[in-house]
Symmetry: C2
Subunit: 471 residues, 2 copies
């Protein structure tokens, strides 16, 4: 059989890398639940017309087809199913479908895979994991939840073994009001232009602002000056006002922005920073918007984004406003794992390997394992009664810290810490490892590993790709 290659954009992890991912997902879930968010899972598919609502036909969607659909089966586009590309569209549909069974405000988290039918490209995922929290109101939703979701994510970042993350906040009303006040006839075009500032530089953005947003040269310069403003203190307002642009939406948006920054930093200093150049591409945001930069990994783009949407969903009678923020788990983890920066202390959950002295005495070892498991210690029994040296190597290769030895009659026990070589007598009904050894530990290496020897199988590669190789 030919060598099997990964499929570009569908990252997979080796067992030790998966342990890192589990640690991250467990931490995320624990913090979400500490704040009273309830888990939801939605099906992986939505009707294609739901996925493409608001006419966003540029969405990269994977469409499903039953292999055994009849050849002459004609499916209207409206009846087709596609894999969801985010967790927000499914949430909106779920809320409308089940509104009568839900209590509002609904605090839900959702940790699931999403898919994008992208062409294969370095750093682009076609399958990846997101972890979202949203708070959804019925008719109304209090402003303080906009501070809250940012603080929950700041708590997640503080708890994870990752580089520093900076949540940046802006406000759509502020931006739109400023653009209008500065003379823009198409404020959305101005937003799109400024979103490209880091990529194409101020001169080309100024050209876009005059050519596409209807601003004159002075107005364009004012917008570029606005985009320079960032910070965490009250002077933000002074600096915006100093630009001399006036518009009711600008005032309202600025008040909201200052309230988010002040509210968040009062509870967690440094948690969020205002940055008036961030925009977010998705058009359903209506107020606060968030992006997050991982320090030292700015080229990854935003690893955690979200914002306020006044109408997440509506059934024509009732409107459901929401605020949410979404952590790109794969976007965050795949690069850190590929370069060996996040490491697990072992590749298995196992804390103790019980050695087997002879195959006929396996029952004695199994009894030890049962006793240890009854105390919550992850334990496996050696697969064969090989020489003890080989059984110890079996543990060592996997990073299992302890090997347990038992006499054939089950009366004599000792446990060896194979890292130190220390071996002591022990009672399987009473022994406990140091708490740090009970589960695999996950740590961040201080610097990136250069010249990694094993292939970074987790990273998307531009290699052989089944879907694309014929092109």
């Amino acid at each position: 059989m030919a060598k099997i290659s990964p499929i570009s954009g569908f990252p997979e992890f080796l067992p030790a890398q998966r342990i890192v991912e589990q640690h991250v997902l467990d931490t995320v879930r624990q913090i979400f639940e500490l704040h009273g968010f309830a888990s939801l899972e939605t099906r992986s598919v939505e009707p294609l017309e739901q996925l493409l609502r608001k006419g966003e036909i540029d969405k990269e969607v994977y469409v499903l087809r039953r292999l055994h659909a009849a050849d002459d089966e004609v499916i209207r586009p409206a009846d087709q199913l596609g894999l969801h590309f985010d967790l927000t569209v499914p949430l909106a549909r779920y809320v409308l479908q089940n509104a009568g069974h839900l209590d509002f405000p609904l605090r839900r988290y959702q940790i699931q895979k999403v898919w994008r039918g992208e062409r294969p490209q370095e750093g682009r995922y076609r399958e990846f994991t997101q972890a979202d929290i949203d708070i959804v109101g019925r008719d109304t939703l209090a402003f303080h939840h906009e501070v809250e979701v940012a603080l929950v994510m700041a708590e997640v970042f503080a708890a994870l073994p990752i580089p520093d993350a900076v949540i940046k906040v802006n406000n759509r009303k502020l931006a739109e009001g400023f653009f209008r006040g500065a003379g823009a006839t198409d404020p959305d075009a101005a937003l799109r232009a400024l979103d490209k500032l880091d990529k194409i530089g101020p001169e080309r953005v100024a050209a876009l602002l005059t050519d596409e947003a209807g601003l004159d040269a002075t107005g364009a310069q004012l917008c570029l000056q606005l985009a320079q403003i960032s910070g965490i203190d009250e002077s933000l307002g002074v600096r915006v006002h100093a630009l001399g642009v006036v518009h009711p939406l600008l005032s309202q948006g600025l008040d909201e922005l200052l309230a988010v920054v002040a509210g968040a930093n009062a509870r967690r200093p440094g948690a969020v920073v205002a940055d008036l150049k961030i925009a977010r591409g998705l058009d359903y945001y209506t107020g606060t918007v968030f992006e997050t930069e991982l320090v030292g990994y700015e080229s990854l783009g935003s690893i955690c984004s979200g914002g306020r949407y006044d109408a997440l969903a509506s059934d024509g009678r009732v409107t459901f406003p929401g605020v949410g923020i979404s952590l790109g788990v794969s976007r965050l983890l795949v690069p850190l794992l590929a370069e060996g920066r996040l490491v697990a202390s072992r590749a298995v959950p196992t804390c103790v390997l019980v050695a087997v002295s002879e195959e006929s005495e396996r029952r004695a070892s199994e009894a030890v394992a049962d006793a240890l498991r009854a105390q919550g210690i992850n334990t496996e029994v050696a697969p064969s009664a090989a020489k003890f040296g080989k059984q110890i190597r079996h543990a060592d290769r996997r990073g299992i810290p302890y090997v347990w030895f038992v006499s054939a009659d089950g009366s004599e026990h000792s446990v060896k810490d194979i890292r130190s070589g220390d071996q002591v007598a022990a009672d399987p009904n009473a022994w406990n490892p140091p708490s740090g050894d009970l589960r695999p530990a996950v740590t961040m290496e201080p610097t990136r590993e250069v010249g990694l020897t094993t292939a970074p199988t987790a990273a998307p590669t531009a290699g052989q790709d089944p879907e694309e190789s014929t092109q």
Copy 2:
């Protein structure tokens, strides 16, 4: 907007039902890890040719197509991607792809969604969750692992709040040897015929055995008698031998079957029962096979199946034998949830709702919440400073057991158990709920609920289906 209907075969849960599912998945994971199984996740897609290997073109697969694939893009069948329909085919591919980075025997668990491109049909899922354990060797794999995987699942069943589950075991070698010894020319046809025994009855099976498996009438009757044999003691062997059929494979398979039954019941009495009529449809099993019946829910079919495969994967040079068993989480849960048999004590993780006396004093309530969270207590703050009666109803509707009251200056605290009405003074840095209240409890109601008032949204329905409604 028109009422949104579920999509047949894609079950979804309400928040309280999801809490039941989380409890089940957490328990399953905990027990798998206690036994030293390491988590793996594979991508959701495989090349279509991998999914259809061994020429099983009857597989119901969902094929993916990029929405924006060029109209003239011709994709060879071998380059197409499909969603995986089980977790065994992906495991085999993963093992071959990463063999150089894995340690054998590999003990892995995998809890993921799988998809089948079925026509919509009552009780058929098109998306569902499976929880698999497999032990994969390199070149060899010891027999004792066949006992082990059954015992791990028996421990899962014992730990879950579900009706009794009976793991039934048979052996492919026993069956094939018996069929050959009884004169079958096509033992696979005999296996397929006997697999239909419960569905079509002995007479029609006898006809199939003679028409398709090459048996004479006497041989067919012997096979039907074999299929009657079940039990857990040594008399199994006597009853098989009494039929007078002799074949080397039969002897080997019978020895293995007796060893599995004796080994499992020695460690967990009643864990597995031999049942010589079970067959398992999948053709890669080569020895032990498992099926599991949920008592009182036999019509669900097997909720947990697996077996031994001498060649899970092979690269032509090295062969990887395996033994595995797969729990159909959705198959088990969806019916129990739909009829209200499994219930969570609340619909949210939250243990305490901190009341807000006035919107201007929200910070005092947030400080309480932070203190409680620091002790691991899931806590949320009331969304608005409504009348206390309304805030208590907010907790009550979600099943949150405790409401916390704090004076504006943060100096006076009391906590009310809203089930009993008891209210006591408390210190947010020291208070702890009874351990049973810390997390939602999941319990099984003694009997099925008749005339459930809420719609069983979780159950697949034969209702409107986007993919099928045009047919």
